[in-house]
């Protein structure tokens, strides 16, 4: 076993305080660490995030007309789909996906593994305050978790993919931290990705792009993009963009596992496929990173088309 210390689950009110950013740095680190290894608490954490989001939406409806922003009136305070609750119940996914990946790729550099754990485990946590667990610890935990849970059906949520010809060439060689299984998302350079994106690819303006990954589709349709950008303080933020049916599962899996993520933002279908036909694929941009959800939503709203 990775650890013989039995840690109690995080009380619900503490998860609220954690999500609200109201805990001290050491408390946040402790909870982030615990969430990394505890499926029950990750599931609970996802529920708390859902509760917070719904409360905010409901309260936004009770706003005088003079203060209503465009669009706020059209918000429907819907309950999360049952499916999402199911995803929450299998909150192991995002951890197990990469966790298993680490378990079967023990040669991965310890730097990447440590950073990876840090970025997943600590939404809204300053890098400077975080002591990342070692690669060995991560591997041990991942192995334990992989043994405890059936992994494969969940992994299939982000699995089916065929690399788009020409885009599989990895021109960028970065030691990187990925929220997805990297082998399914070949690295690309910005120009190639832009071309594959039909000349349009959303990203956050003013924040440098540090890596671009592209996942092709078996049917040759619009690929999905994962753009990594780096904030001034070093924290990475990812933008997912692609057809709805490809991005939504990624979104759900990440959300269910408690990784802070902006609201999905749909744009017009405007992708011209390689054979020149206009494809009516829904584009959706999601931002994931270890920032509070509110900040991520603001970032998503600032996405600019290059």
């Amino acid at each position: 076993m990775a650890s013989n210390i039995v840690r109690p689950h995080v009380p619900e009110e503490e998860l609220h305080a954690y999500c609200d950013g109201e805990l001290s740095a050491p408390q946040r680190v402790e909870i982030a660490e615990h969430l990394l290894g505890c499926l029950i608490c990750r599931s609970q954490h996802a529920e708390v995030e859902e509760l917070r989001a719904r409360t905010a939406t409901l309260l936004a409806l009770a706003t005088p007309r003079s203060l209503r922003r465009a669009g706020i009136g059209s918000i429907t305070p819907k309950r999360a789909p049952r499916q999402l609750r199911r995803y929450a119940a299998i909150a192991a996914v995002a951890l197990l996906g990469p966790g298993l990946w680490f378990a079967v790729h023990p040669d991965r550099s310890s730097v990447a593994a440590g950073q990876y754990a840090a970025s997943l485990a600590a939404p809204s946590l300053s890098n400077a305050l975080l002591s990342a667990p070692s690669a060995a610890t991560i591997r041990a935990r991942a192995t334990v978790l992989a043994n405890l849970t059936t992994v494969s059906p969940h992994l299939s949520l982000v699995a089916p993919a065929v690399a788009t010809a020409g885009l599989a060439r990895a021109k960028v060689d970065l030691v990187d931290v990925d929220p997805v299984v990297a082998s399914e998302w070949p690295a690309s350079d910005w120009d190639a990705a832009l071309q594959a994106g039909g000349g349009r690819l959303d990203r956050i303006g003013g924040v440098p792009v540090t890596s671009v990954r592209v996942r092709g589709r078996a049917d040759g349709g619009r690929p999905t993009f994962m753009i990594r950008q780096q904030l001034a303080d070093g924290r990475p933020v990812w933008v997912f963009e692609g057809p709805e049916d490809d991005v939504i599962p990624v979104n759900q899996v990440l959300q269910a596992s408690g990784i802070a993520m902006s609201m999905a933002h749909r744009t017009r279908p405007d992708y011209v496929s390689t054979n020149g036909q206009l494809e009516r694929t829904q584009r959706m941009v999601t931002v994931v990173g270890h920032l509070p959800v509110d900040s991520l939503n603001i970032l998503a709203s600032k996405l600019q088309v290059k």
């Binding site: 009110e13 305080a17 609200d20 917070r52 409360t55 009770a62 706003t63 203060l67 305070p77």
Partner: protein, 175 residues
Amino acid sequence: MAFDLEGLYRTTYDSVVRFLYRKVWDADRAEDLAQEVFMRALAHQPEKPRSWVFAVAANIARDEARAAIRRRKHLVLLTHEPIASPTQQVDIEDGMDHDEQEAEVKRALATLTPRDREVLLLWDAGMSYPEIADQTGLAVGAVGTTLARARKRLVAAHDIMEDQRGEQHRATARS
């Protein structure tokens, strides 16, 4: 540091109006009361202006609620005199949808205990746990518990209304 009313106004006015609106449920009244809050702030020049502003807003809203009860009692005496009864402002252009949704939120909020509601509204107004604790007299540690309960109750109350609405729709469709 000199008291910066302009900065305070710029950063907290909207939140104060929203906070008051969710107590008095009248946009004009909420704005009037917010003005009064800032007038008092100017006169008082508080040390912790943000906390102070919300504390005063909560007090004013409480006074307002009492006054409203008095007005209602008074109106009961006047119900047989149609001219004297106040004409309720109905905005024709207003989308019913939003009003209905807001009415549901209002009813859902009403199911909360006053303390839970206060903590939730203060949090939504942008106050931190220690600030909320300061204002409500709760221990900082209890703010999270209260907030967790308030969120759950609000959402649960709204879910029940949603279900009831669904039932009604189905019943209408059947008949």
